[in-house]
Structures are given as structure tokens and as C-alpha cells.
Symmetry: C2
Subunit: 205 residues, 2 copies
């Protein structure tokens, strides 16, 4: 499984969202929507082997985690507005520690960014932290053959980044820092580049 | 200069657009907006060395070409809605053969997809057609050092592609087919990958 987790420092934590103001009052929810697009959309298909999480720390009820499961998604369109409408619906649910499904393949829970990462660590996922100054993903010796795919988690920040404390947490967990580009990019663009690196590696195996 | 040109087969050709329905009645204008995002946005900066064109063949007044000049853009946000509002404004202008500026860095003209490409050919641009079955961009021996950058045009299709006639036209023009991935992707994702390949090549020079 390929999984991505985004820390969305300012994104809304209730369904009371103005769809016309995703960047402002919804706390850069536009970026979250584009990350969903980047995680799943192929030309005429969805990436069924991918899971995307975003953990929101904006008002009024932080944290709220969203989970999107590629293999279960239905009727998702690639545009920001329609993804935002699905997210709004999910954020309207009452949240508890347990994942609750909102629409097909989209879940919410009251979970912390770090706890989700720890859970993956305990499930033996290999954890990568996307960072301008990491080493290239191509040099990480990934196992990507079909019968024995490695489980991989990629951690990303939003426009603010994940912050020093979470960087330290990831270092202590043994997360590997990988770089995708000599320039600093938006998180949604990074997801495209990760998928591409993996698509090419898999194709060359 | 790095330039991209998208053929937007169904995209609107007047400002009479419903911003809430970019994928439907505006003819996949959501994709055009995402291509603008991919062309220009860096983490906290814009790509000033890039120009993006989209040529619209939807109703009611095809063709209409849009031109976005990275070095002139102002107040552009990365979300689809705010890019769509700029496009709507540009499409509200009366169009003639001559480029007319709408807002800073955004121009419209009544120009054909092929004529724009021919113009670049006459200006000695090297022309690449993005295609699933091309050769890798990394193998094209690009000149990317600052004092003597090559002028390059990348041609892309939308969800429909550019069509057989335009493919033939590009072949006759000597356009090189390049592939970015073993899987078929959305046009906006392709732009991210082109930028990344060039960023890396330039960094390694
Ligand atoms: C807009 S950037 C973060 C900018 C923020 N000001 C900071 O200093 O962390 C968003 C996220 O994309 C990822 N990222 C950006 N550029 C990258 C690169 N060249 N290589 C790997 N990851 C990158 C990082 O995870 C980063 O947190
Ligand atoms: C959604 S695809 C086009 C699909 C359309 N059904 C077709 O057959 O042409 C959009 C555009 O992205 C570009 N593209 C898609 N996948 C690509 C790849 N792997 N390598 C290079 N360009 C690609 C092509 O220019 C294509 O026209």
C-alpha cells in the first residue's frame, strides 16, 4: 500500500465551510482538495492502491483526521469544488476515535497526526518524510513487485510545514527524509512526483 | 523560455461561465485552471520563466486562446476558483487576432492552436509533444544553462487528447514525442513532471 499523510495546520474541523472560500476561512482546504486529486487521479482511472490522510488542526474542533481509500472511492471528480463538497459532508459527521464512513471511501475520526503515524510504524510501514534536503527516493531501494509490495507512508506538510516538534518525532521514529526536487514545492505537486517515481521504478523492475 | 500549450477541446469561449460548474457547462475549465496552477506555483514563489497557453474550442465563439506570462502575473492564488475568476474576466473581453491584456499577465486573442505552434516553430523553439509513448525528456539533451537557455514548447492534450490531425501536424513539424510516465496522466500532472525533470537537469549541470 502507498499512503500519504498531510498535516493541514489551519484546515477547518467542522462542516461549517464556505465552499467559495476554501483558501481563506476554510484554512487552505483548497490545498487538501488538490492533494486528494494528486493522490488518486489517473487519466481515466483512480489509483486503487493509494490511501490519503489529512489531519486538520484548524477551528473549531481540532484535530480531525480524514481518510480517503482509493479502492473504495466512488463518483469522485478531480475538481476542487466537488472534492470540497465531499470533505464538507465528512466534516459534518460527529467524530470519535473510531473511523466513521461518510461517503464511499471517505472516513473521519478524532485522531492526532502523530498517533496515525505511530500506528503505521507499528504496522511495519516504511516511513518517509518529504523534505527539500532529503535524499532521492530513487536511491531508497524500495520493494515494489506485485506479490510482495512494501507498505510505505509518505509524510508531508502544508504551506506552514509540519513544525519542529513533529520533525523531531519523525527523526526519533527513524523516518527517512527524501527530496523530490531542488526547489520547494506545494504538497500536492510533491504527491504527483512521488507517484511518478514509484510508477517508473515499478515499470523498470 | 519554457512554454506549455494545452488544447482545451470543450472549454468555454465566452465569459458567460458558471464558476460552480467548471467541469460541466464550462467544458473542463477546472483542468485549465489546474494547468495554470501547475505551470506557475512554487512553494512561496511563481515560476517567472514560464508561459502557459490554453486554446479553447468550446461554445460559443471558438477558438479563443489564453496566454499567461509568469513574469507579469500578479495576485494569482493557486486555487481553481480564483484562477477561474481571472479566466472568466479574460473571456469577457472582445477578441481579435491581437493579444489583449485582461489582468496583469493574462491575455486573450482569437488564435488557432496550430497557428500558435507554427509561430513558435518560426521563432526557433524546440517543440515537444507530450505522449504516453514518447522517449524520456531526460534523453533529449536540453540546453538549460542560464546564459543560453533553449526556448522550448511543450504541447499537451486535455481529457480528449489533441486528435489525429494535430498529431500529424506536429509530426510534420518535427515535434519530438516525449513520455513522462508509463501510465496515462492528466495534463496538469504532466506539467508538474516536466518542470521537475527540467529543475533536476538544470541542478545537475
Ligand atoms: C509548501 S512546502 C512547506 C513550506 C514550509 N514553509 C516549510 O518550511 O516547511 C509543503 C511540503 O511539501 C514538501 N516538500 C516541498 N518541497 C519539497 C521537495 N523539494 N522535496 C521533498 N518534499 C518537499 C514538504 O513535506 C513540505 O512540508
Ligand atoms: C488525459 S491525457 C489524454 C487522454 C486522451 N484520451 C488521449 O488518448 O489522448 C492528457 C494529455 O496528457 C499528456 N500525457 C498523458 N499521459 C502522458 C505520459 N505518460 N507521458 C507524456 N504525456 C502524457 C498527453 O499530452 C495527453 O494528451
Amino acid at each position: 500500500m502507498k499512503e500519504f499523510i498531510l498535516k493541514a495546520n489551519k484546515s477547518a474541523t467542522s462542516g461549517d465551510i464556505n465552499i467559495k472560500d476554501l483558501p481563506g476561512s476554510a484554512g487552505r482546504l483548497d490545498l487538501v482538495c488538490r492533494c486528494v486529486n494528486s493522490s488518486f487521479f489517473l487519466s481515466h482511472d483512480l489509483r486503487r492502491d493509494t490511501v490519503f490522510y489529512s489531519v486538520h488542526y484548524g477551528e473549531p474542533n481540532p484535530p480531525i483526521a480524514l481518510k480517503f481509500i482509493g479502492d473504495e472511492l466512488k463518483r469522485l471528480s478531480p475538481d476542487e469544488r466537488s472534492i470540497a463538497l465531499f470533505i464538507k459532508k465528512a466534516l459534518e459527521k460527529d467524530s470519535s476515535k473510531l473511523w466513521k464512513e461518510s461517503t464511499a471511501g471517505i472516513y473521519t475520526a478524532k485522531q492526532e497526526f502523530r498517533d496515525l503515524i505511530l500506528e503505521k510504524k507499528n504496522e511495519n510501514y516504511r516511513i518517509f518524510y518529504l523534505h527539500l534536503n532529503g535524499k532521492p527516493l530513487e536511491e531508497c531501494n524500495l520493494k515494489l513487485n506485485d506479490d510482495d509490495d512494501e507498505d510505505i507512508l509518505f509524510v508531508l506538510g502544508d504551506h506552514i510545514g509540519i513544525g519542529e516538534d513533529d520533525e523531531k518525532f519523525l527523526d526519533e521514529l527513524g523516518a527517512e527524509r527524501i527530496s523530490l526536487s531542488p526547489v520547494e514545492l506545494h504538497a500536492d505537486h510533491c504527491i504527483i512526483l512521488v507517484h511518478n517515481a514509484l510508477d517508473k521504478l515499478k515499470n523498470n523492475e
